[in-house]
Symmetry: C2
Subunit: 221 residues, 2 copies
DNA sequence: CTGTCAAAGACTGTATACAGTATCCAGAAC
DNA sequence: GTTCTGGATACTGTATACAGTCTTTGACAG
């Protein structure tokens, strides 16, 4: 008998702090004007500075936070330029996953993807955030299926940063049914086995997202 | 006029430790059997445990180190499977950069790349490591030219990990002149402006690297 | 009113101390 | 001889203490 270890990885306080900060940022509890100071956060959370410091430095290395010149950390700003770069990076990562999946062309796998998409997009009265979460989970599922841990890691990095930057708050909640058609079409192109075409279509899909995004930003200004 | 800040970022002791560990790994001063213990390293470097801990945790998060079950950190092992994934990720990142460069098709930029390649490959009695470094710097130059900071970040992540894993030690020192032709040909395809073709050729170039690599590993066993 | 200098304050980085947990070993029990 | 069980050991995570640096502010000189 081989029992799995109960907790594969010890949970550190720093991880807890990290998670709390991330959700706080996503929930807009932390805004661009807030200054995050180690001592204050530690006091607030009733722990010592050490784990707080660790979490803050991690977020800084990930590009989510910047050191403020007067000490403390601030939310990093993102420019329109950087948004474009983020989408370009997405296209690179997810396009490659598409190539891999198209080359493999595993019918079972593709069927599972279809099922996943339909399930994920069955939302009642979805908010913008619901839509975002569903969209992300669908795209992540493609990545997961491709089975390359580095690509997956980069995917999470990109989307994590996007969330941190409230990047999708500007997106109008688009028609789900249209999007569903899009995602299913992505599976269809994988089924053809044409790698170049798969890449192209994924890239185009992401490009659509970008256009929508920029449009949303422009209109919200 | 926009003057750059003198010291963009304060240098922390942890960074120093990190760098030392990375070079030690690359120089094989740290092998797969060594156990890295915070206290011992700290004592050896005559500093406290805090910055050492920080550096070790960073390397762990980057996948270079693993926590050993008996405490301390060990070099992470990499499988042949993971090497493939690493190359796939490379293809994704660098292929996208190629698309960007081909789309831009800036003659000056391409000329600069050519010059860089020729300069970088002018090596006398190069060792395997010299070759590796030159190759890396050439590829990085392409990425740099593409001008996407996320792609560049991922590039560094991938190559950093590759170095940490001694991934290129197995590669026989191949004929530089052949490789030079290859790299110049990469610039040529960018000059045509054909994005799909550019992607294809970069991917093929990286595939060649992979084949060589696997071959090297197989032969060294 | 403006510019300069000094002192205070705020925060960080580093060191050290403390507590908890997992591992390993020795000796007892069978 | 093998297996179990304490206890010592080793190492980490967290807290706290200390020292240095950067910013800001206030007073004074021009």
């Amino acid at each position: 008998m081989a029992l799995r270890s109960i907790s594969t990885q010890r949970r550190r306080l720093a991880d807890e702090v990290y998670d709390q900060l991330v959700t706080a940022i996503m929930d807009r509890d932390i805004g661009p004007d807030d200054r995050l100071v180690q001592e204050k956060l530690a006091a607030e959370m009733e722990i010592s500075r050490t784990p707080v410091r660790e979490a803050l430095l991690r977020l800084e290395k990930e590009g989510v936070l910047n050191v403020a010149n007067s000490g403390g950390f601030r939310l990093a700003k993102i420019s329109e330029e950087e948004i474009l770069e983020l989408y370009q990076a997405r296209a690179a990562i997810e396009g490659q996953a598409a190539r891999i999946l198209a080359a493999r062309q595993d019918p079972e796998e593709l069927e599972a993807l279809r099922a996943f998409i339909i399930k994920a997009e069955t939302l009642e009265n979805p908010t913008t955030r619901d839509y975002f979460v569903a969209n992300r989970s669908i795209h992540r599922q493609f990545m997961d299926a491709a089975g390359n841990r580095f690509l997956l890691e980069m995917f999470d990095m990109i989307w994590g940063r996007a969330m941190a930057f409230h990047l999708f708050a500007a997106i109008e909640h688009t028609d789900i049914s249209k999007s569903l058609g899009d995602h299913i079409a992505l599976v269809d192109v994988l089924a053809t086995g044409d790698r170049a075409q798969a890449l192209e279509q994924f890239t185009a899909h992401i490009q659509d997202g970008f256009d929508l995004h920029i449009d949303g930003i422009r209109r919200s200004q």
